[in-house]
C-alpha cells in the first residue's frame, strides 16, 4: 500500500466501506441478472457522484475536488474489488481531457455536469477489436466528425464522447450524427459500436494530448484490475483456509502454499507498478513509461491470478453462482483495453530506444 496522506486515506476508507455496504458483489449480480442491458446502476452512480468520486479530476472552479490521480486510483481500486459497475473511468478521464483541453466553453458546459454525475462520458478511440492508437481513421472536417469506433464502454449511457481523430482529440455530444449499437461482451457491461456521421465536434487537443489521455486511461484501468486481482487473491486464500480435503484444510498443503507465495509476490509487484503509475501522473514524471509498467503488470498478473483463482477454487469456482467467473470474464475485457501486454511492451521498448 502506498504511503497516503490523510485525505487519500479517508477517501479510500470511504470507498471501501461504501463498496462493502452498498455495492457488494450481489449488487453487480442483481444488475447483470436483471438483463436490462444497463451497464451500471444509475442510482449507485448518483450515490458515488454525491460522494465526490465523479469530480476527482474536475477543477474546483467547475465543481470538482481536484484531488489528483492517486485519489482517483484508490476509489477505482476499491470499486474493482467488488466488481462494482460504474462509468467512473470514462468520466474521470474525460474530465481530465476537457479540463486540459482547448475549449473554455466545453469546460463550463460539461465539467460541472460530469462532477455531479449528471453526464456520463465515454472514450471513443479504437476502431477495431484491439487497441491501436496508431490506426485511427476518424476524421474531422469543418468541425464535423466522421468515423466509427468499436467496443466503446458505456456508449449507450454516454452524453458526451471524447473521440480520437486523425488530428487529435475531440468532444462530441450524443445527438446529431451519432448512433450507437450495443455489443454484449463476456463481462456483461455496457459496450457499443458508435458511428459518427458528420457529428458536430469541439476540439480539445492534438495527437500528443490523445496519447497523454491514453496513458491516464491505462493507469486508471490498471487500478480497477488491481482491485480485482487483490480480491481474487484474498478470496482464494480464504477458501484454501476453509476447504477441507483429506482431513486437512487445503491451506496446509505445501504445493498450494508455494503457489500462493508466488501469487503474493506477483500481486506485490502489480501493486507497486500501479501505484507507481498514479504517482507518476501526480508528479508528471516519466508517465508513458509508468503507464506501460502499470498496465502490463496489471494485465499479466490479473491474467495469472484469474486462472489460478479458478483452479484453486476447484469445482465451485466453475459455477455461475460463485463470483470468481465474473472476475475472470471482466479481466479479459480489461486486459484488451488500452493495450494488451504485447502492445505495451512494444511501446515500452520504443520509449527506451531499443
Amino acid at each position: 500500500m502506498a504511503v497516503l496522506n490523510d485525505e487519500q486515506a479517508m477517501l479510500r476508507d470511504m470507498a471501501r466501506e461504501w463498496a462493502a455496504n452498498e455495492s457488494p458483489f450481489t449488487a453487480w449480480r442483481a444488475l447483470r441478472d436483471a438483463e436490462t442491458g444497463a451497464g451500471f446502476d444509475a442510482d449507485a452512480w448518483q450515490a458515488m457522484s454525491g460522494m465526490g468520486w465523479a469530480g476527482i479530476m474536475v477543477p474546483e472552479e467547475h465543481g470538482g475536488s481536484d484531488f489528483g490521480w492517486m485519489s482517483a486510483g484508490l476509489v477505482v481500486e476499491e470499486l474493482g474489488k467488488v466488481l462494482a459497475a460504474s462509468p467512473i473511468i470514462g468520466v474521470t478521464i474525460a474530465a481530465w481531457a476537457i479540463a486540459q483541453g482547448d475549449s473554455d466553453e466545453a469546460k463550463a458546459r460539461h465539467l460541472p455536469a460530469l462532477a455531479s454525475g449528471e453526464t456520463i462520458a465515454a472514450l471513443a478511440v479504437d476502431e477495431g477489436p484491439r487497441h491501436a492508437p496508431g490506426k485511427i481513421g476518424a476524421k474531422v472536417e469543418n468541425g464535423k466528425l466522421t468515423g466509427s469506433k468499436g467496443f466503446v464502454a458505456d456508449a449507450a449511457e454516454a452524453g458526451i464522447f471524447i473521440v480520437a481523430a486523425t488530428d487529435g482529440l475531440w468532444l462530441v455530444e450524443k445527438g446529431e450524427g451519432v448512433s450507437v449499437a450495443g455489443r454484449v461482451l463476456a463481462d456483461r457491461r455496457s459496450h457499443g459500436e458508435v458511428v459518427f456521421d458528420a457529428a458536430p465536434a469541439t476540439r480539445l487537443g492534438d495527437a500528443a494530448m490523445a496519447e497523454q489521455m491514453l496513458d491516464r486511461a491505462r493507469i486508471l484501468t490498471a487500478c480497477e484490475m488491481l482491485g480485482m486481482a487483490q480480491h481474487l487473491f484474498d478470496t482464494t486464500l480464504d477458501y484454501l483456509k476453509q476447504r477441507v480435503q483429506f482431513n486437512q484444510v487445503l491451506a496446509t498443503f505445501q504445493a498450494l502454499q508455494h503457489r500462493m507465495a508466488d501469487l503474493f509476490a506477483e500481486i506485490a509487484s502489480m501493486r507497486a507498478a500501479v501505484e507507481g503509475g498514479l504517482e507518476a501522473l501526480d508528479s508528471r514524471r516519466r508517465v508513458p513509461q509508468a503507464a506501460c509498467i502499470a498496465k502490463a503488470r496489471a494485465n499479466d498478473v490479473l491474467n495469472l491470478m484469474s486462472r489460478e483463482a479458478i483452479q484453486l477454487h476447484g469445482g465451485i469456482g466453475m459455477t455461475d453462482e460463485y463470483p470468481v467467473g465474473d472476475y475472470l470474464k471482466r479481466a479479459r475485457v480489461l486486459e484488451n483495453r488500452w493495450g494488451s501486454s504485447a502492445f505495451l511492451r512494444d511501446r515500452f521498448a520504443g520509449l527506451a530506444g531499443y
Binding site: G182, Q245, L256, A342
Partner: protein
C-alpha cells in the same frame, strides 16, 4: 519405426478397407458430412435428427462405434489396425463416430474387465448401439479431490441396496438413463468400504438439479438419492471392491480427457490459421506480428510433442497391455495445453473474441468464448492437475509423504 506388414495381411487389410468404404457409402447420410454430434450425448439434451439416428443405428449394428470391443457383446471385434483403417476412412468421408459418451469412454471398458457375464450381456450391447446414456456418480460436495471421503450410503436390504446421499458434478445427469456410482457400504474402512453400483436414473427417489456454469451452460448436475432401491444384481465386482474398480475407470477417463477433445480441438482452424483470419499478414503471407507468431509456434510445437507423447503411450500400453500410469501425465499436459490454446485464441481475436451473445459476433466467436470458459473445468474434473501431480510424484516417482 516402419510397420513391416505381411503381404497376406495387406490383402485382407485392403479388403477390409473396401468393406468400410462401401458401408460408409451406403449408410452415411450425405447431409451429415463435416458435422459432428460427438459431444451431444454428454453435453446437451438436444434430440437426434432422423439422419443422425440412421447413422447411429447403422454404425451400432456393426459395432463399429466401439470397434475393438468383443463382437459377442455387440462391439466391432476389430483389430487395432482395422480400427485405425475404419477411423481413416471415416475421416476421409467427413463422417463421425456417433457412438460416444461416458459409457463408451469409461464405463464400458471397466465393465468388460470387472463385470459379471450377466452384467456385460445386459449393459454392453446398448452402449455399442448408442442407446443408453451413462453418467458418473463419483464426486460429492465434500469428496472432490478427496474422492474416498464419499458418504453416499448403500445399505444392504437383502435383495437390494437402499441408497441415500448426494452426488455432484454428475456429467449430463439430467439426460442420462443410468449412473455408475461409487457408494459407501461400510463406514469402518475409508477405501474398502466403497462399492461400485449401477443405478437407474428414473428409479424413484433419484432427483437431479442442473448446475449453471461460468460458461452459461449446465452440463453437470447435483444428484440426490433418497431411499433409492437398487437391485443387488447391479453391484459390479464384490462389495468393497469399488475403490479398485473406480480408480481403474479413472485411468480410462484420464486417457480420454487428455486429448483436449473437450476444448474445441475437434476440427476448426489451427491457431496459425485463426491468427491469419484475424491479424495482418506480410508480403509472404506470414503473420506480421512476429511476437504473436512466435507464441503460436511455441504452442503448436508443444502440442505436437504432446500428440507424440500420447501416441507413444498408446504404443507402449499396447506393447505392455493395459492403461499405463503415464495417463496422469497425459491428462495433466493435455488439459493444460487445451486451456493455453483457448487463451491464445481469444487473445488473437481481441475483444472480438470475447462476445457473449447478440449482434456483432459470429457463431464461432460466441462458441469460442463458451469453450474457453468451459475448458477451465478440464484441469479440475477427472482428478485435478494437483491430484495428477500427487499421483505422478508418489506412484510413478516414488516420492513418499512425510513419515
Amino acid at each position: 519405426m516402419a510397420t513391416t506388414a505381411e503381404p497376406a495381411a495387406q490383402v485382407s487389410e485392403s479388403a477390409f478397407r473396401e468393406d468400410v468404404r462401401a458401408f460408409i457409402q451406403s449408410n452415411f447420410p450425405p447431409e451429415l458430412k463435416g458435422t459432428s454430434n460427438a459431444l451431444a450425448s454428454v453435453e446437451s439434451g438436444a434430440g437426434e435428427s432422423e439422419p443422425q439416428r440412421q447413422w447411429r443405428e447403422a454404425m451400432g449394428s456393426r459395432g463399429w462405434g466401439t470397434p475393438t470391443w468383443p463382437a459377442e457383446y455387440g462391439g466391432g471385434g476389430l483389430s487395432r489396425r482395422e480400427a485405425a483403417i475404419l477411423q481413416e476412412e471415416l475421416a476421409k468421408a467427413g463422417a463421425y463416430n456417433p457412438i460416444q459418451g461416458m459409457g463408451v469412454m469409461m464405463f464400458g471398458p471397466t465393465l468388460l474387465e470387472y463385470g459379471s457375464e450377466a452384467q456385460k450381456k445386459e449393459h454392453i450391447p446398448p452402449i455399442c448401439r448408442g442407446e443408453i446414456r451413462w453418467c458418473q456418480g463419483y464426486s460429492e460436495p465434500n469428496a472432490g479431490s478427496d474422492l474416498a471421503n464419499l458418504q453416499t450410503s448403500a445399505v444392504d436390504k437383502g435383495d437390494h441396496y437402499l441408497v441415500n446421499g448426494q452426488k455432484t458434478w454428475t456429467s449430463g445427469g439430467q439426460w442420462a438413463d443410468k449412473c455408475f456410482c461409487l457408494v459407501r457400504t461400510d463406514r469402518a474402512d475409508k477405501h474398502k468400504g466403497i462399492s461400485f453400483l449401477l443405478i437407474d436414473m428414473d428409479a424413484p427417489g433419484v432427483e437431479v438439479r442442473p448446475i449453471r456454469m461460468i460458461s452459461g451452460m449446465s452440463p453437470f448436475c447435483e444428484t440426490f438419492f433418497t431411499d433409492v432401491k437398487v437391485p443387488k444384481a447391479n453391484l459390479v465386482g464384490e462389495e468393497g471392491q469399488g475403490w479398485t474398480i473406480g480408480k481403474r475407470l479413472l485411468q480410462h477417463e484420464r486417457t480420454n480427457l487428455s486429448g483436449g477433445n473437450a476444448m474445441g480441438r475437434l476440427g476448426g482452424p489451427t491457431l496459425g490459421e485463426l491468427a491469419k483470419m484475424y491479424r495482418e499478414t506480410d508480403e509472404h503471407g506470414q503473420l506480421a506480428d512476429r511476437v504473436l507468431r512466435d507464441r503460436i509456434a511455441d504452442f503448436e510445437i508443444r502440442w505436437a510433442a504432446f500428440l507424440l507423447t500420447a501416441r507413444k503411450a498408446a504404443e507402449e500400453s499396447k506393447a505392455q497391455g493395459g492403461v499405463s500410469e503415464i495417463s496422469s501425465v497425459l491428462k495433466k499436459a493435455g488439459t493444460k495445453l487445451g486451456q493455453e490454446r483457448a487463451e491464445l485464441s481469444i487473445e488473437i481475436m481481441g475483444l472480438q473474441g470475447l462476445g457473449w451473445e447478440g449482434e456483432g459476433f459470429t457463431a464461432a466467436e460466441l462458441a469460442g468464448v463458451r469453450t474457453w470458459l468451459f475448458g477451465k473445468a478440464t484441469t479440475i474434473y477427472g482428478g485435478s492437475t494437483e491430484i495428477q501431480n500427487n499421483i505422478i510424484a508418489k506412484r510413478v516417482l516414488g516420492m513418499l509423504d512425510h513419515q
